[in-house]
Symmetry: C2
Subunit: 323 residues, 2 copies
Amino acid sequence: MHALIYKEEGKPLVYEECPDPQPKDGEVLVELKAAAMNHRDVYITQGLYPGIKTPIILGSDGAGVYEGREVVMNPAMNWGDDPHAQSGDFHILGLPQNGTFAQKVAVPANKIYDKPAHLSWEQAAALPLAGMTAYRALFTQGQCTAGQKVLISGVGGGVALFAFQFALAAGAEVYVTSGSPEKLAKAKEMGAAGGANYKEDNWHKSLLKMSGGGFDVIIDSAGGDGFSNLLKTILPGGRIVMYGGTRGKINGLSPQILFWKQASIIGSTMATDAEFKDMIQFVADKKVEPVVDQVFDLPQGQQGFDRMAAGKQFGKIVFKVSE
Amino acid sequence: MHALIYKEEGKPLVYEECPDPQPKDGEVLVELKAAAMNHRDVYITQGLYPGIKTPIILGSDGAGVYEGREVVMNPAMNWGDDPHAQSGDFHILGLPQNGTFAQKVAVPANKIYDKPAHLSWEQAAALPLAGMTAYRALFTQGQCTAGQKVLISGVGGGVALFAFQFALAAGAEVYVTSGSPEKLAKAKEMGAAGGANYKEDNWHKSLLKMSGGGFDVIIDSAGGDGFSNLLKTILPGGRIVMYGGTRGKINGLSPQILFWKQASIIGSTMATDAEFKDMIQFVADKKVEPVVDQVFDLPQGQQGFDRMAAGKQFGKIVFKVSE
């Protein structure tokens, strides 16, 4: 087969021929039609991820065909028995084992699910990792239900966009933040009730005003010094779910606001197999269409890495896989 | 009747005669046998509480007799309908309405409960506010169950001691922190599996070692710069419940630790009426005996305020009320 291979640390990825994956016991070989990028892939090529090894075929997200069946794959391996947290053996497809930026990938047979029929290959490939992360953060940890007010920070990112779309599909009133006026405008076109630019002064006061007092659920992946202002926008009994920390450590957080509001700050990453299954069903039922930022042919995959590293995308960057 | 009255801001409390409380519709008059202090009472006399007015009879905790029945009172008024958070009308007995540092107090009829039979008047008076706060923090918010590892920080305080005793009574393995070697020793006599002095370097590493890897539940009322080290001792999926913030704002908190561990930081204050009822039942069933630090006769109540302001107490400071 051919694959986009990360051959040497710090060097561009190379599309070239390599041996087909050899499925181990309990694994199946999926012929990929599309794959999608995550920040994780970029972090690995930047040396910012634990356990990096080369050569490696990156990629956690993919959709393809197994014995005539159209499937998507759950990239989360060895979660373990505790629904509250992943086990020490947990890992993600695409490091240490070879991933989806290839014509074929070997995955455990219990990690493949029917592709929702309304999705194109590109849309289906965009779904797994970001979709499952958003689903657990929003519903399991955030306890989002119809009619609630929800804030999604940094709405351009893959997980944030799924959280935004899932919250809308669940009947919530959804607000967003972004540092980009263009991304705020796109979110409003898609159904956001309002949005604020976190680069402007008093953005949290704007959000309090437009939402009529704050949010039941906030989904954040920034942290940093702005986080203490986010806490000011949570309603009594509300939940702030964090699935990332791109702005670094949190400073100036008030215990008094937290306990008097009976608010929670809840960490979340990835999802259980049961949540993955529920997420696929939710997407099929609600006809959610993943937002695809741009599609590159897999041989030109390095261009996708460059685009994501520049942070320009709105939605998922997808690779089309050809025979 | 006679009462310990806070007559003028900044002045010592005065024990003197004053009119009996006049119960409003739905209220009953309880003849008090004992009352107990909370930090709230001291904060009010220090001008560190919202809505201070004088003259006022302070005191949220009390036990006494209503029509021959031995009762304790729930001091939390107007929680409202949402179990997740108190309403905007919520307030606590002892400000704005007159409290328990008196021979008689008027309370709503639905706020009195049978005194657990194994408790003295002084022990029963020590129970309500701190007991209900500890109960909600530990069980509702912290989801503490038998066999879990639990850490209680600052074990000398009233809420912390109840959380400690309740966790032991629930079958948890309980660890403590304190800045005082004497308080750590007392907690170990009472059943603590281990303890660490937070004034020593690497106290959190000691806790990790002695607990064999960390805690399912942490109950904290400090916050401040030490909080980020507490987060390092939480187990995957664990809960840190905060009911205070005596050390001020939290700095240096790592989003990455929070989300990778799927940990939660949960604010908690006071409790619902249902939780108060459950707490009284739990204390009766498990024969929990509140720790009484020292008993003063109510006319000498100012001495109790001085003792609490100095932070020397281990357990509750109680006032004995005589006819």
